[in-house]
């Protein structure tokens, strides 16, 4: 919990309530380099910004293809922020931390 304050680099949005749990779901299709990279990047970002407040569920569509329709999965890899609402979707290997943070609504898109 202490780390939450540590990760505030710049203008960290503070609407994350203390008891709030981030429920994230990463859709992959087998162990492709993109999927592996996406998981690694996500893990790193969460540890840094949401330590202890998140869960990551990795769904391999090769094993559970029926789950693709439910979350409107099109691209692989896709990260879905189930909670907090509203639902957000980020496709790609998440190599750009800043844009991932914006996509997850951890940072307002004020840049540029």
């Amino acid at each position: 919990m202490n780390k939450t304050t540590d990760v505030v680099d710049r203008d960290e949005p503070v609407e994350i309530g203390s008891g709030e749990i981030w429920s994230l779901r990463l859709y992959v299709a087998g162990s492709t380099p993109k999927s592996v990279a996406a998981f690694a990047n996500l893990k790193r970002i969460c540890e840094r910004h949401l330590a202890g407040k998140y869960t990551i569920e990795v769904i391999d569509l090769l094993e559970q293809p029926q789950l693709a329709a439910g979350d409107q999965i099109l691209a692989i890899p896709t990260l879905v922020r189930k909670l907090p609402e509203p639902l957000r979707r980020i496709v790609g290997d998440l190599r750009d931390t800043e844009r991932t943070l914006v996509g997850l609504n951890l940072r307002p898109a004020t840049d540029a």
Binding site: L61, L74, I76, T78, R88, D93
Partner: protein
């Protein structure tokens, strides 16, 4: 250039085809869409792409035992189900029976953030899963270009689409991919680059406020196909494409004769009536009895127990029934027995192609032995004259192929240009009856004659055409010195001819009297002249006598003078002088 059915069949053996189930399309394509390959169906908004794709799936599932997957990017499954229910497709039932899977892929740019590299494996897996869940043989992607609206990385998209189509081909499913038509390209995002096996273009054109749907096969790799634009219909039975441009002149002919419904007309047509499967044109001015003639034919047809389709382009069915009752033809029992079916529509309702398409469809549904089109001249209003002729050519060709006897009426504007204006149609028809008004002495009468009737020795005589309360009656006309006469003019002409004969008799007598008088006058004058001459002669003789007397006096005087001068040659001189006087 037209491709014969034989060619298409020969090629069809080389390439496996999946019957589309869409009426008419399989004829044009020689069997259907390329089996196990993707087909691109493109066209503008509202041209029927989605319906085309849906019908392909539904017909495949119901008629050909090929389950299908419909991947929609634009409408939700619910919307699709509702929209297609109006066309008689119950998608829910198909889904329950595991013959169909609907998958709505929602692509919303505002919901998607793109960070880094990705591929469309998710879509592949979804489609693959849907295919596997019901063992689908057919797939529709409608409209996959929506991906370009949802994802910004066109480079990835293009590569992935190429891979997708290849993957679908490898899976051996017959796929229909729809695409929105772009400016100057078949599809907005150039999908035609990736789908090279078969491309079908749908079009909904509006010409002179009348819209016509058309379908054209732009390409079909490895197969012969019809290259024309074919009109198509969307109605409660789905899409029907009308392969009606095949002008092969291969139709069979029949020697069977069918009555015209008018005994006297049958007699004029060498005793039998029209040939079955022939096309009869009945032309005439307004009110000359064209519809009545056509109704007689329809009535006779139904009386024989044969179905007849009556295409009314001018009057409502109720009006036709009422009017025909007034001349003793009751069509209502035939309508009740479904032997006679009316199709009434304004000719301006839709384009020529559509009229043709509708008639085509009705004929296919109702399977009539005879068709009445009343009148075809109205079709000129829905297109140019050339278009109308082309359409009629196709219609006649189609009806002949089906061995359907057709009676078409045509309203002519009257005057000398009447035959001229219909020359182009008349060459297509087998028999041509002309109804004509003969207007004399404040009375209009109808007359009919046969301009031509192919393959029979028909009467060349004009008949007076009477509309009685017992139907049409054909009467011999009066043939006199002043041509053909009908009605009361015929009677008055006979009276007039009698009067004329009497008058001529009187004229002859008068002339003879005149001659006599002239002869008498002439003789009188001859007499007078003779008398005058005699008088003149008498006078002349009197003068001569006086002259001779005076000559005698001179001669005697001269003699007396010579005697006094003692002349000696006097007798000779005297004789010469006498001769001169006499001459």
């Amino acid at each position: 250039m037209t491709t014969t059915a034989g060619d298409v069949n020969a090629r069809a053996r080389e390439l496996a085809k999946a019957p589309s189930g869409i009426e008419g399309l399989d004829e044009i394509t020689g069997g259907g869409l390329p089996a196990g390959r993707p087909t691109l169906v493109c066209g503008g908004a509202g041209c029927g792409k989605t319906l085309f794709a849906m019908e392909f799936l539904v017909r495949g599932a119901i008629q050909h035992g090929e389950p299908g997957v419909f991947v929609t990017f634009e409408e939700t499954g619910r919307e699709l189900t509702d929209n297609t229910r109006s066309l008689g497709f119950d998608l829910d039932e198909l889904i329950r029976d595991k013959k169909l899977v609907l998958d709505f892929v929602r692509v919303e740019r505002s919901e998607i953030e793109e960070v880094g590299d990705y591929d469309l494996d998710g879509l592949f897996i979804r489609i693959g899963h849907a295919i596997d869940s019901i063992g689908a043989r057919r797939v529709v992607l409608d409209t996959i270009e929506a991906l370009f609206g949802g994802l910004s990385n066109a480079g990835i998209l293009r590569a992935e689409l190429r891979r997708l189509f290849r993957w679908l081909k490898d899976k051996g499913v017959t796929t229909v991919i729809t695409g929105e038509r772009g400016e100057g390209t078949l599809t907005r995002h150039g999908l035609e680059e990736y789908v090279s096996d078969c491309v079908i273009l749908l079009d909904n054109r509006v010409i002179e406020q009348v819209s016509t749907r058309r379908l054209r096969i732009v390409k079909y790799r490895g197969s012969a196909h019809g290259t024309n634009e074919y009109p198509f219909l969307i109605d409660r039975n789905g899409i029907s494409v009308l392969p009606i441009t095949s002008l092969s002149l291969q139709h069979e002919v029949s020697d069977e004769r069918i009555p015209t419904g008018i005994a006297r007309l049958d007699a004029m047509l060498s005793g039998g009536g029209y040939y079955r499967g022939s096309t009869v044109l009945v032309s005439g001015t307004a009110g000359s009895g064209k519809s009545s003639l056509a109704a007689h034919f329809a009535n006779a047809c139904c009386a024989r127990g044969e179905r007849c389709l009556y295409v009314a382009l001018e009057e409502s069915p109720a009006q036709i029934v009422r009017n025909m009752r007034s001349i003793g033809i009751d069509l209502t029992p035939w309508v009740a027995k479904d032997l006679l079916r009316f199709h009434a529509t304004r000719s301006g309702m839709y384009g020529l192609e559509m009229h043709l398409a509708v008639i085509h469809k009705l004929v296919a549904e109702f399977a009539p032995r005879a068709v009445v089109i009343d009148p075809i001249s109205n079709l000129n209003q829905s297109g140019t004259h050339i278009d109308a002729t082309a359409m009629l050519t196709r219609l006649i060709d189609f009806l002949k192929l089906e061995q359907i006897t057709a009676v078409m009426t045509s309203l002519t504007s009257g005057g000398g240009a009447l035959e001229q204006s219909e020359a182009n149609i008349s060459s297509l028809v087998d028999a041509w009856l002309l109804l004509r008004d003969i207007e004399i002495y404040g009375e209009r009468n109808r007359a009919m004659y046969i301009i031509k009737s192919r393959g029979m020795a028909h009467s060349n005589q004009l008949r007076e055409f009477l509309l009685t309360d017992r139907g049409i009656d054909l009467q011999d006309v009066y043939r006199g010195e002043e041509g053909v006469l009908t009605g009361s003019a015929r009677q008055s002409q006979e009276a007039r001819e009698r009067a004329g004969a009497l008058r001529r008799q009187q004229e002859v007598e008068a002339k003879e009297r005149e001659l006599d008088r002239k002869r008498a006058a002439l003789e009188t004058r001859i007499l007078a002249l003779r008398k005058e001459f005699e008088a003149e002669e008498e006078e002349a003789r009197r003068v001569i006598r006086q002259d001779e007397a005076s000559v005698e006096v001179i001669r005697e005087n001269r003699l007396r003078m010579a005697v006094s001068r003692k002349a000696d040659r006097a007798p000779e001189a005297r004789s010469r002088k006498t001769e001169e006087t006499r001459a």
